[in-house]
Symmetry: C2
Subunit: 379 residues, 2 copies
């Protein structure tokens, strides 16, 4: 048994952050990039004859897969039909298309989670203004309207105060997902990993702070009652098992006075798990590699009582390296990760993590570094 080659479809920051753990494990990481300037493509040796191409192009996927022992993903936007073809041709695809579809299609996800008895917000598939109106009348306005496919970071999601407001999206002729607007106390994420042979490991449940649909900060562990945290982990493990997930599964949830409700799924390392790079004995990136290779999973326990992560969003400063001097002098313990991406307003270009014994202190430290790097604070 020789050291395997893991191929990642997509070359964003998630693939990039798998590179370090792959190097240490002696595993070869390859990425399928649309462009050699992409985040992960900058840092991984690239064979232009096989590693440049689109995930929409079956031939490109085939060429890429030929020199990989297993295929996994930087994002879920890969045509399921292509993945089924690759599988039929003998390629190991992890997570497999049957599982992945639940992270691609929110209607599919809601149907399946409801069938599994997983607590979800009330929801309906709506194709007409009348159906949307009836759903709103039942659960109360405003209603959350989602396109089943292609949404991320707040895109493909909107609040509608009445059925007429959904008319434009409905006019596209594809069914939408309507969900009740949940009165939550906070948003949570439960991150787990599962291997093909069924082993699973759960990190502590975290609180995620979203602004305009974009994750800004993550706090580990979430400041919630133990029974809510346990039930959030159980829900995530039940989903991982029920859907046959391989690799990391992130379950975004609403915490409500009566319990947790599942919001979204991601089947790959996730922004809510970046804190694990220093905050857990096994990072989500290493764990994902171990899971897709069917290696025994690593210890997900924390390396400090409290960990906070703040995303670095594009702001006024184009060259963030200039902020390192201040950030590191100000706080020798802060951890900065940069993704090699051009700065654009609001774009996730990096993150900062702080660890320590005081929940408020680590939040303030991570927040300060992220704000300074993007140019919100004068040194």
């Amino acid at each position: 048994m020789s050291f395997p080659v893991v191929g990642v479809v997509g070359a964003g920051q998630l693939a990039r952050m798998m590179a370090g753990p792959a190097i240490e494990l002696g595993i070869t990481l390859r990425v399928l990039a649309r462009d050699p300037a992409e985040s992960a493509a900058q840092v991984v040796p690239l064979d232009p004859s096989t590693d440049i191409g689109s995930e929409d192009d079956l031939e490109a996927l085939r060429r890429f897969a030929k020199h990989c022992d297993v295929i996994t993903f930087d994002h879920e936007q890969v045509p399921t039909a292509h993945l089924r073809t690759l599988e039929a041709e003998g390629v190991l695809v992890r997570p497999g298309p049957d599982a992945l579809e639940h992270a691609q299609d929110k209607l599919h996800m809601r149907r399946r989670l409801s069938a599994l008895g997983v607590p979800c917000p009330r929801w309906a598939e709506v194709s007409t203004v009348d159906a949307l109106g009836a759903f709103g009348a039942e659960v109360g306005w405003p209603v959350v309207l989602k396109t089943p496919r292609g949404g991320y970071d707040g895109k493909g999601v909107r609040l509608v105060a009445g059925a007429a407001e959904g008319e434009d999206w409905l006019a596209r002729g594809r069914p939408l997902l309507a969900e009740e607007r949940v009165g939550f106390t906070r948003e949570l994420a439960a991150l787990v990993a599962r291997s093909p042979h069924g082993q699973a490991a759960a990190w502590p449940v975290v609180e995620t702070v979203q602004v305009d649909g974009v994750c800004r900060e993550v706090y580990a562990p979430a400041p919630i009652a133990e029974d809510h945290a346990t039930s959030a982990q159980q829900v995530a493990l039940r989903i991982a098992d029920g859907l046959g997930v391989t690799g990391v599964l992130a379950v975004e949830m609403f915490d409500t006075p009566s319990g947790v409700l599942v919001n979204e799924l991601a089947m790959r390392p996730h922004n809510s798990g970046h804190w694990t790079m220093e905050g857990s004995r096994t990072s989500q990136f290493e764990q994902h590699l171990r899971a897709v290779l069917d290696l025994p999973l690593g210890d997900p326990s924390m390396t400090a009582p409290y960990v906070a992560m703040a995303n670095v969003l594009g702001g006024d400063i184009a060259e963030m390296y200039s902020g390192y001097r201040h950030c590191f002098a100000h706080d020798p313990g802060v951890r900065i990760h940069m993704y090699g991406k051009d700065v654009r307003p609001g774009r996730k270009v990096g993150h900062a993590t702080a660890l320590g014994d005081d929940a408020e202190d680590v939040r303030a430290r991570a927040r300060h570094a992220a704000a300074f790097l993007r140019g919100d604070i004068d040194g």
Copy 2:
């Protein structure tokens, strides 16, 4: 100020382990490799027109340095004259040749450390059998005889029971370093980092366990009295400052009842610091990058009360990946690092690290993983 390019001369495992931290900091790491199959060259994007060449070849160094903002080292075996030429041509070389020479030439090192008042074993420069005999008569036999240049992992070092035994090496016509054989209680390493602007940071002093001149295990912190640990750190910091070191400096020492004595120096990340990858908030590889870039240094404190590292030496098993299943199932907390090197008997091909609350337990865990991977234990 844009994200810099750090060029590492040499492409062994030390350069390889800088790759992960460089990726996360958004810093571009380049390596000058003799061969694209070398440890670090496997994992870093390589430009064959500039990144393949020998450190003995000034033109190769020039070509390589041209697309780097700063040059540093995987090993010290780079001609000082070449580095002085590069410096004169405006290349930033860190550590600089004046400092590096002390890690290249053990006679030079002994002279300088003695001048700095650093505690060393008694030593003499010997060019003749008579001089060796006189030194042995003074300090007692056996005497440790060293070639000033080129030794590592026990090579270029031998014990001689009398002057006649040194005749063959002396016949080469180059002066040798003779040292008293120190009756030590254990071997220590004090690892520090120093930046060009003079900031320094010290990791906890570790115990190193050597077998036949090769490091086998490292225990952090060293189980020694606090005053010995403090004085070992002070000695290392004094050397870093006195020699104007930039980057990581590893000072190998003997612990004796009457205090610590300096054995060897290395001016780069060092085997005695591999435990810092998970065992310290800032690893030696990230710290070295921060130091050579003159960024403020990171927190060197430990992430667990006890950390042990065991080197994986080449043994009976050529394909060590087969051992991952057992090692990770046996111990979800063990950390394995592999260097992508072909297995040869006794060659360092990887290491295993364990962290925890019990000193004996972490040693046993790291030792078990390393022994299993090389084939010393049946599953």
